[in-house]
């Protein structure tokens, strides 16, 4: 006999009977859309939905089939001393904070350590850190995998980040390694490469 926490399946099923605060809005295919406080302009293909629930004040989240199956998150204008995410309930420690002088590898560490805490997962491995463009700005691309507790499934993710005028811009895509990541990653790379960043002019109000 063994004790089995059924958090995943039961909450997922019972949660279906509960109203949730987040609402979803459809995005039009091949049309420019202002993202994350209008600091980015993206041009998605069809089938994407944006959530009114945000992971932080400076971010926005999209999905096609459900967040557990594909999640595309945009962070824009994260300032010195700010975290990537809202602090999770009952967090034992503060989330790591962004610093404007971070090296590319430190940005990846910020993302990794933030997600380890958010996901409560120790099985989070970053690989393939390399130079990349976020829109027209120089940045860093990183790939990672992690296994969420109780799911029995590996997820793959890819992020591209850049610091512009001392603020962090980052786009992250994550999906199950089986089928969903490979299905969409080429499209995501295309979206990232054509992304337009609209950092506020120096001296402008936040």
């Amino acid at each position: 006999m063994r004790l089995v926490p059924l958090a995943f399946s039961l909450i997922a099923l019972l949660g279906a009977a509960m109203p949730l605060r987040a609402e979803w809005k459809a995005l039009s295919a091949d049309e420019d859309v202002a993202v994350a406080g209008k600091l980015m302009i993206a041009t998605p293909k069809g089938g994407w939905n944006r959530s009114t629930a945000k992971p932080s004040a400076r971010s926005e989240r999209w999905t096609r089939d459900g967040l557990a199956l594909n999640e595309l998150t945009f962070f824009a204008g994260v300032a010195e001393g700010e975290a990537l995410y809202f602090a999770p309930l009952m967090a034992k420690q503060d989330l790591p904070k962004f610093r404007a002088q971070m090296l590319p590898t430190e940005i990846v560490e910020l993302f990794e350590n933030s997600n380890r805490m958010i996901l409560d997962s120790s099985v989070f491995a970053v690989s393939a850190v390399e130079p990349a463009k976020l829109g027209r700005f120089d940045g860093v691309r990183f790939s990672y995998t992690y296994a969420a507790q109780d799911e029995g499934l590996t997820r793959k993710g890819e992020g591209v980040a850049a610091i512009v005028d001392g603020k962090l811009y980052l786009v992250n895509f994550v999906a199950p390694a089986v089928h969903y990541f490979d299905r969409d990653i080429s499209e995501i790379r295309q979206l990232v490469s054509s992304l337009k960043l609209r950092p506020p002019k120096p001296g402008a109000a936040k």
Partner: protein, 242 residues
């Protein structure tokens, strides 16, 4: 352990919160068919039955779920027999894939995520994705072909069944709760079944029953549960349900 208590508390809160929001009878069973799908009008319908994914056990007084190996063995045997019989009654040519391999394990895990997404964003309509309006197009991907490449089948049938029976202590505690005016939630019995295209991995049909009945450890209960989970199973072209 603390996590177990937290999960139990959260589940209790979810269940207790349900009636407050319910303005009409809560729908607990729903199915969906991929647009335009019917079985071919003629020829064999060859279906590979994957070994059912079964969770069965007892809810302790503290609200923890405790699996029972003996019950699992009985439920598995009865559900497989009932599933095979029900499939044959529907005119399907069935074979059982009873061997767990890496491809099946990873697709089972993906299947659970896909079903959770379909429940949340489509079937029960509480958190709808606008892009899914008027369509049911979730997929497991063409990797399903790796599960049983030699199988003589065009379709695969996944089935998940969960049964949590209350321990004697739990029943007593629930009785006290009910006498004090609280909700007596009883045991949890739910499941779902899905038909998958073994070539594309597309989910062709899905049925979810959040409030199933029947003791799956017995032949009668398992037969009843299988019929509940196969409700709305697709028809052949030009016919009613097979």
């Amino acid at each position: 352990m603390v996590r177990g208590y937290l999960v139990s508390a959260l589940l209790a809160a979810l269940v207790a919160a349900g009636p407050i929001h319910a303005q009409s009878p809560v729908v607990t069973e729903k199915s969906a068919v991929r647009e335009g799908f019917v079985f071919p009008a003629t020829g064999e319908v060859r279906v590979l039955l994957f070994r059912p994914d079964i969770k069965i056990g007892e809810t302790t007084t503290a609200g923890l779920f405790q699996t029972q190996a003996e019950w699992h063995g009985a439920a598995r045997s009865e559900l497989v027999g009932a599933l095979r019989a029900a499939s044959e009654r529907r005119g399907l040519k069935v074979s059982l894939h009873d061997e767990e391999n890496a491809a099946l394990t990873e697709h089972r895990a993906l299947f659970r995520l896909v079903v959770s997404a379909a429940i949340r964003h489509k079937l029960f309509g509480r958190d709808p994705l606008p892009s899914k309006s008027g369509t049911f197009d979730w997929s497991l991907g063409s990797g399903v072909a790796r599960i049983a490449p030699q199988a003589d089948a065009d379709y695969g049938l996944f089935l998940f069944s969960h049964d949590s029976f209350e321990s004697a202590g739990r029943r007593a505690a629930q009785l006290v709760t009910a006498l004090m005016g609280g909700a007596n939630n009883g045991g949890a019995h739910f499941g779902y079944a899905a038909l998958v295209d073994l070539g594309s991995g597309d989910i062709l049909w899905l049925n979810v029953d959040l409030k199933a009945s029947g003791d799956v450890r017995t032949p009668e209960g398992a037969a009843s549960r299988i019929e509940q989970l196969l409700a709305g199973f697709p028809a052949r072209a030009g016919q009613g349900q097979p």
